[in-house]
C-alpha cells in the first residue's frame, strides 16, 4: 500500500521534472555547450594525468593516453633520482614558505596603516597607486627588475656605486644568493596593494562606535588597533590564510612562483631558481618528455590538494569557520 503511494508520487515527480526540463530546454542547451567546453578543456586534461603512469608518446594524441603501456611509478622514481631533485624541492618549498611569511602579513599591515590615515585624498592617492602593479604583466616586472637591478644599467647599482657604498655592481639578477629575496620582494611590490583592498573592506565594516567607546575608556592608538581593528578583520584573515596555505606551492595568494622562477631564473641563478613547475615545464615542453613531466606536475598537485584540505580542517577546528 505504502510502496504504491511512493511509486505514484515518484511517477508524478518524474513527469514534472520532464515537463520542467522540456520547458527549460533552451537554457539546458546553453548549459550543455558550457559543459562540453569544460569537458574538453578541463576534464580531458584531468584524465590526461594517467600519462604520468604510462609510457606516453605525443604522436598518439589523446587516444594514446588510454592505449599506451602502463609503467607504474617509473617516472616518479626517476624524478626522485634526478641529480637536481634536492635543489628543486628545496627551492620550491623555500620560495613558497618565504613568500607566505612575508606576503601574507604585509597587506594586512599596509591596510592598517592606510586605515589610520585621516587625510582622505592622501589615502586615496596611496591606495590607487599601490594596486597599479597588480595589473601589469610579470613580463613588465621582469623588465623593471632589469632596469633597476642589472649590473650594467640597473639604477640601484648605479646609485650605490656613485655613492661609493659598493665597489662592484651587485649581481642581483644573476647571483644565486639574491634570487629568493628578489622573488619575495617583487611579489610584494606587485601584489601587496591589491590584497590590502580586501582587508580595508573588512575594516570598513567595523562599527565606529567601538573605536569611540575605546577612546573614552582611554585606549591609545595601538591599543585600538590591537583590540578592535585586528579582531574585526579576524574572519577575513582566516579565509585569506586558508587560501594562502592551499596555494602555498604556487606562491601563496600572489600565485607567482612559476612566473618569477621562469622569467627571472637564468643559467646563473639556476641552483636557487629552479622549482618543480619550471622543471616540469622544461622537461615536458622543451625536451618532449611528457610522461615524466606529467608525473612531476602531479606530485605538486597532490601536495597542494592535501594542503588546502588540511588547512581548511585546522581552521575549522580552531576558529569555527572554514571555506567548505
Amino acid at each position: 500500500m505504502e510502496a504504491e503511494t511512493i511509486k505514484a508520487e515518484m511517477a508524478i515527480n518524474r513527469s514534472s521534472v520532464w515537463k520542467r526540463f522540456k520547458k527549460q530546454r533552451s537554457a539546458h542547451f546553453f548549459v550543455w555547450i558550457g559543459l562540453m567546453y569544460l569537458f574538453v578543456f578541463a576534464y580531458t586534461p584531468m584524465f590526461g594525468i594517467l600519462m604520468a603512469f604510462k609510457d606516453y608518446s605525443i604522436v598518439t594524441g589523446i587516444k594514446g593516453i588510454f592505449t599506451s603501456e602502463w609503467v607504474g611509478f617509473r617516472y616518479f622514481i626517476e624524478f626522485y633520482n634526478e641529480y637536481k631533485f634536492y635543489n628543486i624541492v628545496r627551492n620550491t618549498l623555500a620560495l613558497s614558505f618565504l613568500k607566505v611569511v612575508f606576503t601574507f602579513p604585509v597587506p594586512i599591515l599596509f591596510a592598517i596603516m592606510l586605515n589610520e590615515v585621516k587625510h582622505l585624498p592622501f589615502k586615496r592617492v596611496v591606495q590607487t597607486v599601490s594596486y597599479l602593479p597588480h595589473f601589469i604583466s610579470w613580463v613588465v616586472v621582469l623588465g623593471l627588475a632589469f632596469t633597476f637591478f642589472s649590473s650594467h644599467v640597473g639604477l640601484v647599482n648605479q646609485v650605490l656605486l656613485a655613492w661609493g657604498w659598493i665597489e662592484d655592481p651587485l649581481p642581483i639578477l644573476t647571483g644565486s644568493s639574491y634570487f629568493w629575496g628578489l622573488a619575495v620582494g617583487s611579489a610584494m611590490w606587485k601584489e601587496a596593494g591589491w590584497w590590502a583592498i580586501i582587508f580595508l573592506a573588512a575594516m570598513a565594516g567595523i562599527n565606529p562606535a567601538l573605536y569611540e567607546a575605546a577612546q573614552i575608556d582611554g585606549a591609545g592608538r595601538l591599543a585600538r588597533i590591537w583590540h578592535i581593528t585586528l579582531p574585526g578583520i579576524k574572519g577575513t584573515v582566516v579565509v585569506v590564510l586558508i587560501l594562502t596555505i592551499g596555494s602555498i606551492l604556487g606562491g601563496g595568494l600572489v600565485g607567482s612562483n612559476f612566473e618569477q622562477a621562469y622569467l627571472m631564473g637564468n643559467a646563473n641563478n639556476n641552483d636557487t631558481s629552479e622549482i618543480v613547475q619550471t622543471y616540469a615545464f622544461k622537461v615536458g615542453l622543451a625536451q618532449g618528455r611528457y610522461s615524466y613531466a606529467a608525473a612531476i606536475d602531479l606530485v605538486q598537485s597532490i601536495i597542494s590538494v592535501i594542503l588546502i584540505f588540511s588547512s581548511n580542517y585546522i581552521a575549522k577546528r580552531f576558529s569555527g569557520s572554514g571555506l567548505f
Partner: protein
Amino acid sequence: MIDTANYGLLLVILFVTAYPFYYLLITSFNSGSDALLGGAYFWPSDFTLENYKTFFNDRKWLIALGVSVMRTVIGAATGVLFTSLIAYGLSGKDLVFRNFYFVVVIFAMYFSGGLIPYYVVLRSLGLLNSFGVYIIPAMLNTFFLLIAISFFREIPNDLKESAYIDGANELTIFYKIILPVSKPLLATMALFMGVGQWNSWLDAAYFVRDENLRTLTYRMIEIINKSQIPRESIAAAAGASNVTSYSLQVTAMIVSIAPIICVYPFLQKYFVKGIMLGSVKE
C-alpha cells in the same frame, strides 16, 4: 608621533611604487646611448623621440602589437559573450539538474590536469601555432561565470515574462533583454579579461611558433634577455644609432603599460567588488 611615522612610511611606499613607472617613462624619452651612462633620474638628460620612432617603424614590433591588440579585443569579446551565455543558462532558479551542473563547474574550477595534459589536448585539437590558441581556451572563465550567474538572478523576472508572451525565444531574450541591462557586469568582465589577454605571455612563448603570431609580451621577454648581455647594449651604443636594445626595451614596456593606465580608472570602479567575490570563491 605615530602619525608622522605612518605618513612617512606611506610616502616611501608611494615612491617605491610610482617611481619605477616614472623612471621608465623618462628613460624611454632619453637617447639610448646616454641612458647607459646613467644619471638621468628625474628628467631625460638627452631628450629624444628616436626610441618611439624606431619602435613604431619596426615591422616586428608592429606585428607583435597588432597581435596583442587583436587577442585583447577578440579575446575579451568572445570571453564575455560565451561566459555570459552559459551563465544565463545556469541562472534559472528552478533549473532541473542545477546541483549537478554546479558541481561540474566548481570541480573544474578547483582542480586541473596540469600543464602537460593540457598541452596534449591543445595539440590534438590543432590549436597549437594558431591565433585560436589565444582565444578559444580563454572563452569560459569559471570565476566570472559564477559572478554572472548571481548577477542574472537579480534581474526581475517580469522583464523576461513579457518577452515570453510576445513569443521571443531564449536567445532573443538573452540578446535583447538580458545583455542590455547587464552593462556594468559586461564592462567588468571585458576589462578584466582584456587585461588578462594583454598581459598573457606563456601561451605566446610555448603554444606558438609562427613569428607572425608573437605577442608584445613575447617580444619583450626576447629583448630583455637580449639586453641582459652587456656586450649587446654597449655594441649598439657604440654604433651610429642612438637607440639601444635597452632603450627599445624600456619603450616597449611603456607601450605595454600605457593602455592599462588608460583603462585604470574604469578598472578601479569595478574591481573592489571583484576581489571580494574572488577571495571567497577562488
